[in-house]
């Protein structure tokens, strides 16, 4: 099987608990952040991307704090801050005469007067996506394509998939959208069905044992079924320092 790196990464991730794509996506994003903080803080291309995105999304911006990357964060944020400060300090043109001639003419001609805040809001808005999220989504797409294309056949991922926790619902939906062959679709649905059936049985058992009549029975595999159910429906938790 010439599956490439994605195939082997998926095969290994399917042996681990939880959705394999969630796990691999989290690993890809953590690696990206590691390399950014370790190697690329002063890379002009990356700095431009970060400036365009007005820094990072909330989760990944705080990841810098959780990793204690104080100097790297200070350097990156100073750059973004200087950009934002310039926009805020310039504020907005107060009168028509303060604006560029073309804009003044357009406003007078079309009677389109934007309010002070509209222009400022537009200038302060991020012009690109969080670079860490963008990287994570790119890797997610690659892994889902690999899973769908390498599911069947000799050394296919189906057997590993069947014994794993399967995909979470959001990734399962994305995988279904990528399927073009009926055999793959049937195999994927059948495997996921078995996985969720197992989970529902364990959830039923968890709820039964929470009843006062059966609360003396010892806990088995179902003890963390409620956690796995959240992960199955909502996707894995985005934790700080998740590897």
């Amino acid at each position: 099987m010439s599956g490439g790196l994605g195939y082997y990464a998926l095969r290994d991730a399917l042996l681990e608990p939880g959705c394999a794509v969630c796990r691999l996506k989290a690993t890809a994003m953590a690696r990206y952040l590691d390399s950014l903080l370790w190697e690329n803080v002063n890379d002009p291309g990356i700095r431009r991307k970060i400036r365009q995105a007005q820094g990072f999304c909330q989760v990944h911006a705080w990841e810098l704090v959780h990793r204690g990357a104080s100097l790297a964060a200070a350097l990156l944020m100073r750059d973004v801050l200087q950009n934002a400060l310039k926009i805020v300090k310039e504020g907005c043109p107060r009168t028509l005469l303060d604006k560029p001639l073309r804009q003044t003419a357009r406003e007078l001609f079309y009677r389109q007067r934007h309010t002070l805040s509209d222009e400022l809001v537009a200038r302060l808005a991020p012009k690109a996506r969080c670079p860490v999220c963008a990287q994570g989504e790119e890797m997610e797409r690659i892994y889902l394509d690999t899973l769908v294309s390498q599911l069947l056949g000799k050394d296919g991922l189906l057997s590993a998939y069947e014994t794993s926790d399967g995909l979470c619902l959001p990734h399962f939906l994305q995988a279904l959208e990528r399927v073009h062959e009926k055999e793959v679709l049937d195999a994927l649905v059948k495997a996921q069905h078995q996985i969720w059936e197992r989970l529902v049985e364990q959830l039923n058992e968890y709820i039964r044992k929470s009843d006062y009549r059966f609360c003396n029975e010892p806990w088995g595999d179902e003890s963390d079924a409620w956690l796995r159910a959240i992960a199955a429906v909502a996707g894995a938790r985005q934790e700080s320092g998740q590897q």
Binding site: Q54, G55, F56, C57, Q58, H60, A61, W62, L64, V65, S70, L71, A73, A74, L75, M77, R78, V80, L81, Q82, A84, L85, V88, G91, C92, T115, L116, S117, D118, L120, V121, L124, L169, F172, L176, E177, V179, L185, D186, V189, K190, Q192, H193, W196, E197, V200, L203, Y206, I207, S210, W226, L227, A229, I230, A232, V233, A234, G235, A236, Q238
Partner: protein, 303 residues
Amino acid sequence: MPGYEPSLQWQEPDRNQGSNNMGLTELWLKLAFQKPGCPICRLRQESEDRYLFNLLYEHVTDGITRMHLVHAMGLCSEHSWMLQATEFRHWHDGLGVGIIYEDLTERVLQSLYQYQASNSPSRISKRKALRQRLEHMGWFGRWLAQQLVREVPVESLLQQISPVDSCPACRIIEALEDNYLHSLVRQATVPEFRSWYAASDGLCLPHLRRALAYTKDEEVVRFLVEEAARRLGQLRVHLQEYVRKHAWDNRHESKTSLEQSSWIRAVAFFAGECREEREDVDQLRQKALDNYHKQAVMSSHEQ
């Protein structure tokens, strides 16, 4: 209350009442100004905590709440995990979460089961045989085969297991956030309220953008912009000093509390506040906020 959709949409206040009438929302804002970080982020977090606690305490078996959750296929990923953490923190258990997600898992499972049942090999071969027989019966048979003998497409399965509504927690929290932001921009014309705001950490960038979009009052826009520029100017100086003092030749210079917290405050400004409470981070930010308070007191004395 999660069980029903409360009317949280912003309504334009009665201008005749005057802006000095401070309500509960403004008092919540005042309390939030006294704590480190963006006040709206803080109020949002408190609302989220209340919503999730109430959901677990009162509404796990409430029909309407569960209907909303079914339509949205549960909460979004972030709120789902917050729900789990809330239940574990308060009850060291997962029964409420287990009940909600058992229902959802069961529903998804049923959809998969239906798809499998209608696409089983025996059904497919029967369909094939019927189609062939009908197709031998001329144009009417071919038309009938097209109408009657259809394969169940993957789109119908996708439709069944996709959410039809957004996360109920996101919806309600967003509406509350709107309410707080509208109150803030309305009260920003009141001098007393402005002094409270000036002594706070101010709004983070995502909330500043929204606050600016909610007001057409040039005076309020100017006030918010001036405050943001003042804070950002100070923050830039602190950041520059923080970076400078990391250089080899300046390493012996001690960093002030404002410089120590500058990189965290910069992250908080651009990304909004962190949802996880961290004692060390909070302490650093509280020191920085105390300094703002001192500055606000000094400037009011000068005036």
